[in-house]
């Protein structure tokens, strides 16, 4: 497979997207002279959340992501695996325009979220981030705020004043994050008074409260104990009914357990992206096979 295969794949969108694509076609070819690199796409699915075309990300002179093309299906869990420094997190952060916040960072290529170019000239990154929530490796509830305030902060600081609506959204978000039963009697305690696993679920509730379309998770369980990790994984299974989830993980068992699709990154490139069981049982690439069987990385 090469880049030209990728652009001939079927798409769900109508004419508008096709014209956009036919315009970008020559550019796509130019970007990968010779088409030596394998940049396979995921299997076509009914609905696509992210379409990433020829994405490259730099930190100063260092190129962290190299000419990467990938589709991320909606309402499913896509896991990104790969050794440290393979560009997983950078890729994830480019999906909600967090990459550009790093001083000296650069980016080229195109990312479309449900057909809309999120790096378009008239796009406000703040609005993209409202649609694409993020959960970080280290749980980070705001220390000056109570549990209640932590969940509603995204709404309050975006101008929602209605108390009833805030309470309602808070409860729904905490329920979705499977935290409501544990905290409903002390919502005014500081968010930082919770245990590590609870704090991480509080952060998930905080991200869900603004009602995003997509939830990005950057190693959300790597600092948690096995029980808390299980809870987060169960939660991911629940959430994928309504949300598109992209999870970066170092833990291959975790990727195998809780994702529908798996993308394997190596040295800033996408090596393989396919259904999770295929990637783990019958990968089409030798490097993927070596990595998932633990021979390197």
């Amino acid at each position: 497979m090469n880049a030209s295969v990728a652009v001939t794949q079927p798409r769900r969108e109508g004419a508008a997207l096709k014209t956009k694509d036919s315009q970008s076609l020559p550019l796509t070819r130019l970007a990968t002279p010779g088409g030596k690199e394998t940049t396979p796409r995921g299997t076509p699915v009914s609905e696509v959340a992210f379409e990433v075309d020829n994405l490259s990300c730099w930190f100063g002179q260092h190129q962290a992501v190299q000419d990467l093309s990938l589709q991320i299906p909606a309402r499913a869990v896509t896991a990104i695996i790969g050794p440290s420094g393979c560009g997983k997190s950078t890729f994830l952060r480019s999906l909600n325009r967090m990459h550009e916040l790093v001083r000296g960072s650069r980016l080229s290529g195109q990312i479309r979220l449900f057909g809309e170019n999120i790096y378009g000239p008239r796009i406000d990154p703040t609005l993209i981030r409202r649609r694409v929530g993020m959960v970080f490796q280290k749980s980070n509830p705001f220390p000056t705020m109570s549990i209640r305030e932590n969940v509603t902060v995204g709404l309050r600081l975006n101008g929602v004043r209605n108390r009833v609506a805030l309470e309602e959204r808070m409860e729904r978000a905490l329920r979705m994050a499977a935290l409501w039963e544990e905290v409903k009697d002390h919502l005014d305690r500081p968010g930082t008074s919770l245990s590590g696993g609870q704090q991480q679920r509080l952060c998930i509730a905080r991200a869900l409260a603004v009602q995003p379309d997509v939830l990005l998770m950057d190693e959300p369980a790597s600092a948690l104990d096995p029980i808390a990790t299980t809870k987060i994984e169960e939660l991911i299974q629940e959430l994928k009914k309504d949300y598109t989830i992209v999870i970066v993980t170092h833990n291959m068992q975790q990727a195998a357990r809780c994702s529908d699709y798996t993308a394997f990154f190596y040295m800033g490139r996408l090596i393989e992206c396919d259904k999770t069981d295929k990637v783990f049982t019958n990968p089409s690439n030798k490097q993927t096979e070596d990595y998932v069987s633990g021979r390197f990385g």
Binding site: M98, L101, N140, M145, V153, L157, A207
Partner: protein, 286 residues
């Protein structure tokens, strides 16, 4: 076993020595504070009475009288200085820590550090040129401006430092929620660092409250009540200075009392503001 326990004893000795040395250094730091306070109380407490706190200075030759006007004057000057110094200093610190680029940062930091080293009397001259000359007279405004200018670089640096201590994770978490930058800075970053910012402001306030030189030809001093801020105003340091170099025993006594009152004022403001801004969750949890 023997060697290992001997080794252990040697480690214990080293450990004790190290704690001993740090303890001694801590005492060296605290001792002057105790001595200054002790001497001030010994020399000044006797002269503080109701009259001292409520009356104007008596004319030369008459004993008694007080420094009420200077106490109020110092508070007024601190207020005026804070009006200039706190907003500019805090927002400047926010700019340094949250917005500015590396090159700009270097220049602002360099500027603030140089300004911190400017002798305080120079600030008096600056305020004289900028305020006294155009207003054609010494005034509380001029004194407040001189002290306010002094506060700016102090507060910029402390604010920047405490804001840099706020973990980046909070900023990123807030950005990922789609919260606009200015609200993140105001309601998350600054709120998290509030105690530190307040401490910096208080330190700057304490530092300028005792300044005499910048007030000599700006606020000028006044032996009576000041009814308008465009008139010269009394200040404790000025009054202390005048009384301390006078030949009268009664005035010396009052100078000591004034110094004690000045220190107590700073102390009370410190405690009060700290109590008011105590983070809801940084103290005891409810």
């Amino acid at each position: 076993m023997n060697t290992s326990s001997r080794y252990h004893a040697w480690r214990k000795i080293k450990n004790l020595t190290m704690s001993g040395v740090s303890f001694a250094c801590a005492i060296v730091v605290i001792a002057p504070l105790g001595l200054v306070l002790f001497y001030l109380i010994a020399a000044g407490a006797g002269a503080i009475d109701w009259h001292f706190l409520t009356q104007l200075p008596k004319p030369v030759g008459e004993t008694g009288g007080g420094m009420a006007n200077a106490i109020v004057g110092t508070l007024a000057l601190l207020g005026l200085a804070s009006l200039i110094g706190v907003p500019v200093g805090v927002l400047g610190g926010v700019y340094l820590s949250e917005y500015s680029g590396e090159r700009m940062n270097w220049w602002i930091r360099f500027g603030a550090d140089v300004l911190n080293g400017v002798p305080s009397i120079v600030w008096g001259i600056v305020a004289y040129t900028l305020v006294v000359v155009p207003l054609k007279g010494f005034s509380a405004y001029a004194g407040g401006a001189a002290l306010g200018f002094m506060m700016i670089p102090l507060i910029i640096r402390t604010t920047e430092e405490v804001l840099l201590l706020v973990p980046n994770g909070y900023r990123e978490a807030a950005l990922a929620l789609g919260i606009p930058r200015w609200r993140i800075n105001l309601q998350i970053v600054m709120k998290t660092a509030l105690r530190g910012i307040v401490t910096g402001v208080l330190l700057a306030g304490a530092r300028i409250a005792g300044e005499t030189a910048p007030l000599l030809f700006t606020a000028f001093g006044n032996r009576f009540w000041t009814h308008h801020l465009k008139d010269p105003i009394a200040a404790l340091p000025l009054q202390i200075f005048t009384y301390a170099i006078s030949p009268y025993d009664d005035w010396h006594r009052q100078a000591w009392a004034g110094a004690l009152v000045l220190i107590l004022m700073i102390f009370l403001i410190n405690i009060g503001v700290r109590a008011l801004t105590r983070g809801r969750f940084s103290g005891a949890t409810r």
